[in-house]
């Protein structure tokens, strides 16, 4: 099976941490009204 970000155990931890960091950063930007309201 080709090694990908998803199947590489060494990158598993950083993937989680980066995902959490991105989500928290976006939440902060939304809270501070630094990005326009997001539509769906």
């Amino acid at each position: 099976m080709p090694e990908t970000i998803a199947t590489n155990p060494r990158r598993g931890l950083s993937l989680d941490v980066y995902a959490v960091a991105l989500a928290l950063a976006l939440a902060l930007l939304v809270r501070l009204n630094l990005i326009p309201s997001i539509k769906w």
Binding site: T4, D16, V20, V30, R31, I35, W40
Partner: protein, 365 residues
């Protein structure tokens, strides 16, 4: 090997260039994920608009299914060219970011209530399914470590659990590939069967979401199976699956200790450090955002924005689920691991369905 020129290059200059290259490599695949996801959304909206304009009765097929089907068709016909593969592989990153953002849609009380029920059901289902998978593995004469990987994958958390368990129990790469392939194939099947079964049994959104979260292996597939039923069911499926994911470290630790006691894996040193290493950190992010939302940190329009950001992240994930499923590769893995996985999955689906029925009846979900 580093050349003289590169070894004397200042470290600070090299790193941003490498990071920039890594990001550039991801762009084609990310664009493909976005295109497939948006195509799914466009088809859903077009059909809904057409049927409404012409007063036709047609079941609403969620963009989730369209995105997965488009992805499956691309991956299994023309294939995914190499330049797109790195970006497509980020779908799990978007899944985790989406789950953290989804925390804003839960009050902490809801998490404690539904999460508590999920935890109790997971504990029962886990015990039964691990026992059953080992009996099956023995019956089908699978290698014991392959059985362990299949048991961990089908009872806890799909691919992530297998990846976490493989080095901990010193299992072969080949066994891990078999187990991953079987779990992915079964996850793809559950995407199409779970919503049909849920509708035919007239399950409520909460009951269905709980069932999908407890029974579907991979987090991406569990999220998609929930979202295919309804938005509310998708939310509950994510919560139940996240509760299940939180137990990954404990189960992997138990297996590591078991195989080490038989002299077939290296001993586990610091158990607390092991648990922390295996613990999915996005669960903490999910809880943190939920606490902030419960404390009123976000205004109502901001909560809507966060929920929509989560939906966009899931859109990329669902596109990735289809794009990374290669049916030909899955077919090459042999029938026995697949058969053990499939029988185990049916067992787990029935057990968890019974548990959810019971919980709905007695605990009023």
């Amino acid at each position: 090997m580093a050349t003289a020129a590169s070894s004397t290059r200042p470290l600070g200059l090299d790193q941003p260039i490498q990071l920039g290259r890594r990001i550039v490599v991801l762009i084609p695949g990310l664009l493909l994920l976005a295109a497939v996801g948006c195509a799914g959304k466009f088809i859903e909206q077009s059909i809904a608009g057409y049927t409404k304009a012409h007063h036709l009765t047609f079941p609403n097929i969620e963009y989730v299914l369209w995105a997965i089907v488009i992805g499956l068709v691309i991956a299994n016909t023309v294939g995914i060219p190499r330049m797109f593969q790195a970006g497509v592989a980020t779908y799990e990153f978007w899944l985790k970011a989406g789950i953290v953002l989804l925390g804003s849609r839960f009050l902490l009380g809801d998490i404690l209530h539904l999460g508590g029920i999920s935890l109790a059901l997971v504990a029962v289902a886990l015990t039964l399914s691990l026992t059953f998978m080992h009996l099956l593995g023995r019956t089908f004469k699978l290698k014991p470590k392959l059985t362990s990987l299949l048991a961990v994958g089908s009872s806890i958390c799909g691919v992530s659990a297998i990846i976490a368990a493989q080095p901990a129990i010193d299992a072969d790469d080949e066994d891990a590939s078999y187990a991953i392939a079987a779990i992915l194939a079964l996850g793809a099947i559950s995407l199409f069967t779970f919503p049909l079964i849920g509708h035919s049994l007239h399950l409520s959104d909460k009951a269905y979401g709980l069932w999908a979260g407890l029974a579907v292996d991979n987090t991406a597939e569990a999220t998609a199976a929930g979202a295919l039923y309804s938005d509310a069911a998708g939310k509950v499926a994510v919560l139940a699956k996240t509760t299940r994911n939180a137990l990954i470290g404990f189960v992997v630790l138990a297996y590591a200790i078991y195989w080490a006691s038989r002299g077939q894996a290296h001993a586990v040193g610091n158990k607390a450090a092991f648990l922390w290493r295996k613990f999915p950190k996005f669960v903490l992010g999910f809880l943190f955002i939920s606490i902030l939302a419960t404390l009123g940190f976000f205004a109502k329009p901001q909560l809507t924005s966060l929920a929509n950001l989560s939906r966009w992240a899931f859109l990329l994930t669902f596109a990735g689920v289809g794009l990374r499923t290669n049916l030909r590769e899955l077919g090459k893995q042999g029938w026995r691991p697949f058969a053990v996985g499939a029988i185990g999955e049916v067992f787990i689906a029935l057990v968890t369905l019974g548990l959810v029925y019971g919980a709905d009846h007695f605990l009023h979900l």
